[in-house]
């Protein structure tokens, strides 16, 4: 295992995050604060409680997940797309590093950044609403699992994309709608029957539901299913990445 290479890539990726601290950290924190103002205060004044949880607190896990998903994808997709775009990927491909090492380094870097961001949003949220975490271990487990899974997904998008437009396409057209419709701001039990069934096909529902359970001990779907769905998505992403590297898809061809 070329651990020095993994460390070199990881450190470079983290350095990039700190170099663009405004874009990486500050802007998501500001947008989260805005969500609190708009949803927490304006709408929260009309919806006081969901499942016995104050609306302001109820949306916190969803908001963290929203940022975690989008940031994991954008961090990882940009990290691998940018060297492809400027051509500096030649160095990575000609280095004595295995595919596994490349994935660990890039996905690790992207996931670390989004986890830090998730924790910052959590800290920001605690300034607006009183929060307690009933299952801290599972909270961290969902946070890490989701960050890693969606960083892998972002990595796939970064390799697949041939233009900046394509890079934005999946997060913009698929992930953001799925997150908004995945119960970030409401309980899916509030939906009419048919829409509740439709929503169950949205994988993000399981992530948010499981994550919310770790905070409040209450969830829309059972925690076991949430965890299972997240792991399934992780395995699907791993399988796709393995295929990409085995065939050299859009990297060595």
């Amino acid at each position: 295992m070329n651990l020095r290479a993994v460390w070199a890539i990881y450190r470079m990726e983290m350095a990039r995050a700190f170099r663009t601290v405004l874009q990486s950290i500050v802007s998501p924190v500001i947008s989260t604060s805005l969500y609190f103002v708009v949803f927490g205060s304006a709408i929260g004044s009309r919806i006081t409680e969901i499942d016995g949880i104050s609306y302001g607190a109820f949306i916190v896990p969803g908001l963290i997940m929203l940022s975690l998903l989008t940031q994991s994808i954008s961090n990882a997709s940009f990290a691998i797309y940018f060297p492809k775009f400027v051509g500096s990927i030649y160095e990575l491909l000609s280095a004595p590093v295995s595919y596994l090492e490349i994935v660990i380094a890039y996905v690790g870097g992207a996931a670390t950044k989004s986890i830090i961001l998730g924790l910052i949003i959590l800290a920001t949220a605690s300034l607006f609403v009183p929060l307690s975490i009933q299952h801290p271990f599972w909270m961290v487990a969902f946070l890490v699992l989701t960050a890693v899974t969606f960083s892998l997904f972002g990595f796939i998008i970064g390799i697949w994309a041939k233009s900046f437009e394509q890079l934005q396409l999946v997060p913009l057209l698929i992930i953001t709608p799925l997150t908004f419709l995945g119960g970030s701001f409401y309980s899916i039990n509030m939906l009419p029957g048919i829409w509740r069934t439709v929503t169950l096909f949205n994988p993000v529902v399981y992530l948010i539901s499981g994550f919310r359970w770790s905070f409040f001990g209450k969830s829309d779907v059972s925690v076991g299913i949430s965890l299972g769905m997240t792991v399934v998505f992780l395995l699907v992403c791993i399988a796709i990445v393995a295929w990409i590297f085995r065939t050299g898809y859009r990297l060595r061809n």
Partner: protein, 308 residues
């Protein structure tokens, strides 16, 4: 001595159906400077990219110091440094960070003293804290070389290293190449400046339309395929070459004042001495005489043109 790089039956057909390499065979000797010449699109960069692991080959085998580039890619790649044709650097990194990154990527432990030496040798030390984006084109080229040398490779690929580079940097670069060779580094370069290959290389390979059409010791190549020209400045211009000289296939300049006789070691054509004797006997007097050797460039152009 076994070759340090062995390319055997390597072909590459891209997904578009374009065949960039056809059954390429090439052995590079340890410690030599090898110049790979070929017109644009001949397959030079594809060949280099396959050896370095950037492009998958369609068939064939490549070994680097005995290590197969697929089965034993770590050992093979750690011996190779690559300076690609394009200036492709992460623009927002500093010189110091990016060179140390390259060293780490190739699995070498941090060695700031060595990286400092590389940067000093390439006149980049003053710029170590500058971001790549602020460097001039020449400085970026030096940075690419520094990155390639950061992990102490035993084989250095220079793909068009002097394209768009000023005279000073070109000379610096060739000094560096000679110094690396003295340290035992094998150097494989592609260049459009054939006079550079002529000045630097021990051996020359010519690639055209994906096929390596010739590999030869440079001096031997010049001897075998090089031509000599005898230029005769005539005292009295001629309107046409007399019939008696047809066996020499002479060329007359448009003004009739100069005769050119092209000859080589291989051709079974009459020699210079007999031509001069015949000219004197035929009453054609000349006031000056000069000979020219054909350059590697002419040899190269002739070779490539000869291909169907």
């Amino acid at each position: 001595m076994p070759s340090i790089l062995s390319i055997s039956g390597v072909s590459k057909t891209y997904a578009t159906g374009f065949t960039a390499l056809k059954e390429a065979n090439l052995d590079i000797q340890r410690g030599e400077i090898f110049a790979l010449l070929g017109p644009n699109g001949a397959g030079k960069t594809t060949l280099i990219s396959i050896v370095c692991g950037i492009v998958n080959r369609s068939s064939g085998t490549v070994t680097v110091d005995g290590h197969d580039i697929s089965k034993d890619y770590r050992a093979a790649r750690s011996l190779i440094g690559l300076v690609p044709q394009e200036l492709t650097i992460d623009a927002f990194e500093t010189v110091w960070a990016t060179v140390n990154y390259s060293r780490g990527l190739f699995g070498k432990p941090a060695n700031h003293a060595f990286v400092e030496k590389v940067l000093r040798d390439l006149s980049l030390w003053d710029k170590k804290d500058a971001k790549a984006i602020t460097l001039s084109g020449g400085m970026k080229r030096r940075l690419m070389i520094a990155k390639a040398l950061s992990h102490e490779p035993r084989i250095l690929f220079l793909d068009e290293p002097t394209a768009g580079v000023d005279v000073e940097l070109r000379q610096d670069m060739w000094t560096m190449v000679r110094r690396l060779r003295e340290d035992g580094v094998t150097i494989i370069l592609t260049t459009h400046y054939i006079e550079e290959a002529e000045a630097m290389a021990d051996r020359v390979g010519v690639i055209n339309r994906g096929e390596i059409i010739l590999v030869e010791n440079k001096a031997e190549l010049m001897r075998k395929l090089g031509r000599k020209r005898l230029l005769l400045e005539l005292r009295n211009p001629l309107t046409a070459i007399p019939e008696a000289f047809s066996r020499y296939a002479l060329e007359l300049s448009p003004d009739g004042g100069q005769l050119t006789y092209t000859y080589d070691n291989q051709a079974e054509r009459p020699g210079v001495a007999s031509l001069i004797r015949d000219l004197e006997a035929g009453g054609i007097q000349f006031r000056d005489i000069d000979t020219q050797n054909s350059s590697l460039e002419e040899i190269f152009v002739n070779l490539v043109r000869r291909e169907p």
